[in-house]
Symmetry: C2
Subunit: 172 residues, 2 copies
């Protein structure tokens, strides 16, 4: 069994909201956090991000990370079980084949109610995701990597385009 | 047109790797970062996370945030254009109806090559995603929300289960 290596893509959660609030003509470079009782425009330098309703992009990102941590916790627990409790490992794999990991909380709630052995597995996954989120996950590293990624991607995209077009110009 | 409010779900990127490296029997509670030239076990208190190959969960999370920032940048630019340049807005919507936002970089690269007007749109989206990532996105807020979410979800799941089972016990 190669679960940890091959969690099917269909098991994996989506990143972004499926329903977004209505999109009216919002002011240019307006503030993300508006207070409805104050009609005056807020002096905020942040760009307005439409479509997240009452939530925020940060809340949406946190929600997706929360599902990601459940996914990681399942992988951690499965790897641990495989090495010393193969019966529990098989049970986890069998449960995974029947239930989606798209929604981490729903996955844990269903596992809780499957049997007493599954309940213990679910408790362990919940404990691991909390410990992973609070102690192991390197938040600053993720931020650093995201900064690097956006700078490098933008440079690469522009360089590739310039090289392509100058190549075409040279050939003409 | 309600683009910002209705980016179709199929447009939205996945969170996690579709292919993961093979899953061997790894040591229990071993370290996430292993140095192949040192066969001795590292004294690291972190849980081992299998299945990310040469990458790390932080890199995977950063990659997904990178796609999320492109998605947010498209929404920001669309909202701005809708209020003062409807022609460009319609062009962006039309392009979005034909191209997936699953991979932010691929989306920008394709837009770059569509026409000179699309190239300007792509440059703007790239500029906005960089500015959003580096200046506007509240990283600490996301971390705080994720901490809160994991604690509250675990408590809620256990409370719900206890209430359900004690209710069944009372009925008996």
């Amino acid at each position: 069994m190669e679960f940890c290596a091959t969690l099917p893509l269909s098991q994996l959660p989506y990143v972004y909201p499926s329903t977004l609030s209505s999109n009216k003509a919002y002011p240019f470079w307006s503030c993300k956090r508006r207070i409805s009782s104050r009609p005056t425009r807020l002096h905020c330098s942040k760009m307005f991000v439409p479509g997240f309703g009452e939530a925020s992009p940060e809340a949406k990102a946190a929600e997706n990370l929360h599902n990601f941590f459940t996914f990681v916790a399942v992988k951690i627990v499965a790897a641990q079980l495989e090495s010393y409790n193969h019966e529990a490992y098989e049970e986890l794999m069998e449960f995974l084949s029947r239930h989606s990991l798209n929604d981490g909380d729903k996955f844990c709630a269903t596992m809780f109610r499957e049997s007493s052995r599954h309940k213990n597995l679910a408790l362990r996954i919940m404990e691991v995701r909390s410990a992973y989120c609070k102690n192991d996950f390197e938040w600053d590293n993720m931020k650093r990597l995201a900064f690097k990624m956006v700078t490098e991607s933008n440079t690469r995209l522009m360089t590739e385009y310039v090289l392509e077009t100058s190549h075409v110009e040279t050939e003409k």
